[in-house]
């Protein structure tokens, strides 16, 4: 009899728990925003300062599931497209669109808007974006062909399996044909769960619930306010004092996490990889760094564990060009990594080899190489650069820091106006296409080291058309190995960072292999 009561009690508890998790509607959630984004137009920006507050205004054709922390091709879910299908030759991707969807101004969403969006991204229309940082994503799209209002086909130049992943990124919202690009920067219109209310520079960004959202019953929140708090200490105090419900995603460092856990012990915090890596950039066109031995010696002297311990209190990852597992889905396994130059745990042996290369290049204990290491004047760049300077001393390199203001940093490295630098690179989608073409492709604007291998360029294309995931993964690992052996852009460490939210906040999932895809907020609700 006792067992029956125990089972009944357990069932009641489970039922109670389920009821407690039933989403509640209402309430304004507050998330602090670290700075004023340059505009409200997602397509024109390349920072999640823009994406966190504005992604809720829009919908994509497809989107990575918002309740799964790891973005994979299997977690791609329908959004404005109810379904999609590849043609047999994998060169046509057809989407069936959801009927009855309206823009926030009441106009209907149709396949013409999909065509407009891609045409805009390909600079085909008279009304152009002021900036178009992801135009290269759509280089393989030959045409977007509407078939009636509710069907649209993407005609590709060659098969490209990553196309769907890129369309599922937060960076691929659909824009309305009837709204100018200028208006989209200042007063965006979307089909998403939240409507734009206002954006006051340096003060606040405000969104309100879209009562006519096509997904009935959502969103749960009445709105989201993003007060802009530029001082991180003030922002964290505001979170601890309950003035905001959530920190800006990935703004919490290991040290700040300790403070939050002490002062707000009920806060829920998650430290995750951000798919942003710290890397060494060497201008291979500038003597003496046109000497491959010198570049290899610099890679061999890097002690990655020291970076991880000092900067991240041990909580960060070693990897190649792609985010390592388990969160990263394309990163090389550890066994392959340790065979790469500079990744061996035997740092002393690596440095001995590096010193031998330096001697071969004409440097040694009596003749040091004096260089400047350029980096951006913000702590996330400066701090690792200082550690790098120290490690370079081990191989007869006397380096000084060349601190470059943010306003001139990107221009400087893209003009190749540097010799050695320390840089940060983020990947919006955990997919090799984005990482390889953008950062290592011959002639790519963001390939700041001028690395170009025609042989690897062909390999990029080969992996891109491969539809078998297991095969593609092997090809990607081979490319990544080659990139690291060529010292194309030595990856020092893959960062981890955290987000904290109040226990009142439910339905939010912190993505762990991209910082750019998880801010639709339509499933988030407040329990208060």
């Amino acid at each position: 009899m006792n067992r029956i009561w125990q089972n009944a009690a357990a069932l009641l508890m489970v039922a109670g728990g389920a009821m407690a998790q039933t989403p509640k509607s209402g309430g304004i959630m507050k998330i602090y925003q670290r700075d004023s984004p340059a505009s409200a137009s997602i397509h024109e920006e390349a920072t999640f300062s823009n994406q966190v507050p504005f992604m809720g205004i829009f919908n994509n054709l497809v989107l990575f599931r918002q309740d799964m922390p790891v973005n994979t091709p299997e977690t791609i879910a329908p959004e404005l497209a109810d379904s999609w299908a590849w043609s047999d030759d994998k060169k046509t991707l057809t989407f069936k669109l959801h009927p009855g969807v309206k823009w926030h101004d009441g106009k209907p969403f149709t396949s013409a808007d999909v065509k407009c969006t891609i045409d805009l991204l390909q600079n085909k229309l008279a009304d152009k974006f002021r900036k178009n940082p992801r135009r290269s994503w759509y280089a393989n799209v030959e045409a977007v062909v509407p078939n009636g209002d509710l069907e649209v086909a993407f005609k590709l130049g060659r098969p490209q399996m990553s196309m769907l992943s890129m369309l599922a990124s937060g960076y691929a919202p659909m824009y309305p044909c009837h709204v100018s690009t200028r208006d989209m920067r200042t007063n965006p219109i979307g089909t998403g769960p939240f409507k734009f209310v206002e954006f006051k520079q340096n003060e606040v960004i405000r969104l309100a619930k879209n009562p006519d959202y096509w997904r009935r019953g959502k969103p749960y929140l009445d709105g989201i306010d993003f007060p802009i708090i530029t001082n991180r200490a003030t922002a964290m105090l505001a979170f601890i004092a309950g003035k905001v419900d959530m920190t800006m995603p990935t703004e919490v460092t290991q040290a700040i996490l300790r403070d939050i856990k002490t002062q707000a012990p009920k806060a829920i915090c998650k430290m995750v990889p951000t798919n942003v890596h710290i890397n060494l950039i060497v201008n291979r066109e500038k003597p003496p760094f046109d000497n491959a031995d010198l570049r290899r010696a610099m890679a061999l002297t890097i002690d990655r564990k020291a970076f991880i311990d000092i900067l991240f209190e041990g909580d960060a990852d070693m990897g190649g060009a792609l985010l390592p597992g388990p969160e990263g889905i394309w990163g090389m396994p550890k066994a392959m990594l340790t065979a790469l130059p500079g990744y061996s745990p035997d740092i002393a042996a690596s440095r001995a080899a590096a010193r031998a290369l330096m001697v071969k290049a004409g440097y040694g204990p009596d003749k040091h190489l004096a260089i400047k290491v350029s980096t951006r004047n913000i702590p996330t760049y400066r701090d690792p650069a200082v550690i790098l300077l120290d490690q370079l001393k081990e191989i007869y390199v006397d380096a000084t820091l060349d601190i470059v203001e943010t306003s001139v940093w990107f221009g400087k490295i893209e003009r190749k106006d540097y010799a050695v630098g320390l840089n940060l690179t983020g990947n919006a989608v955990d997919d090799p296409d984005q990482a390889f073409y953008e950062n290592y492709g011959c002639g790519s604007e963001r390939n700041v080291t001028a690395y170009c291998s025609p042989e690897l360029q062909k390999a990029f294309d080969a992996q891109s058309v491969e539809t078998d995931v297991a095969k593609r993964r092997q090809m990607v690992w081979a490319i990544d190995t080659q990139l690291q052996n060529d010292i194309a852009r030595p990856v020092i460490v893959h960062q981890r960072a955290g987000t904290c939210w109040s226990p009142d906040v439910h339905g939010y999932t912190q993505m762990s292999n991209s910082s750019y895809n998880g801010f639709r907020f339509e499933d988030v609700w407040l329990d208060r």
């Binding site: 507050k30 602090y32 004023s36 984004p37 340059a38 505009s39 024109e44 920006e45 390349a46 920072t47 152009k128 002021r130 900036k131 178009n132 940082p133 200028r182 920067r185 200042t186 954006f199 006051k200 520079q201 340096n202 003060e203 606040v204 306010d225 007060p227 802009i228 708090i229 530029t230 001082n231 200490a233 003030t234 105090l237 505001a238 601890i240 004092a241 309950g242 003035k243 905001v244 203001e405 943010t406 306003s407 001139v408 940093w409 990107f410 221009g411 893209e414 003009r415 604007e445 963001r446």
Partner: protein, 315 residues
Amino acid sequence: MTAYLVRRVGLMLLTLLGISIIIFVLLRLVPGNMVDILFDSAGMVDPAEKTRIAAELGLDKSIPEQYLVWISGLLHGDLGFSYVSEKSALREILPRIPVTARLALSAIAFAVLLGVPFGVISAVRQNSAIDYGLRVISLAGLSMPSFWLGLMVLMGFAALTGTLPVYTEAPKTTLDAVLLVAVPAMTVGFRSSALIMRLTRSAMLEVLRQDYVRTARAKGAGAGRVNFHHALRNALLPVITVIGLETAFLIGGLIVTETVFNIPGLARFLVESIRNRDYPIVQNLVMLTAFIVVMINFLVDLLYAALDPRVRLGA
């Protein structure tokens, strides 16, 4: 008097013209222009697109041409538009003026109300325990960096009251509204009050040793009348200069306080605009600050004459 006013207004206009040229040229000599920064936020550079945007923003014209466009617009009340927000510069600047003005005036009021009386007391009670105490406090006020003091105040508030007087939304109660201004005003005003107190004290000490003060005392005037009527009035001249300068400084110099307390005022906006090389905003904000500084100096000069009959403005 009329001749003086005409001369001063002429001088003021010349000063403003000089400032306008300096700020305009300096902004354009600083490495990194607006277009670079626009593209920096996008993380890439396409020379063709950059050229197109530069032309769209009028940055392809020569510096003198750009200056003429701006200055003639300014004279017609057209301040241009923010390159970042693409809204009219006037619309961006105007709502922020009362925010900063309220904070600056509250801070200076706090500083004067605290600094002047304590300066007088410190001077009158020279070398007493009160004097030593006030001097130590004022030294602390001058020594503590305002960002540190601001953070300490915030942490103290959070620990004691569980709330935080920082701006995250429009205040819901009068108490919230008062706290949002009073706490940062006191934090920033503390430094100014220390300066004013020390200046008042030294000016008072000098005046209190004058013959006319001794005469007043000999004639039987009470301590209050001697200290506040006879001595303070004359001691105030250098103090007023400092108050004027502090007020002008506070209008444009509240960067740290506005950042720590997250106040959406002019100073923070100016720094952000400089970072973004948002030329129209920076130029107009600097001109506004310059105008206020020049006006305050003018008013201080007029106050001299009101306080000290020996000062003749027309002379």
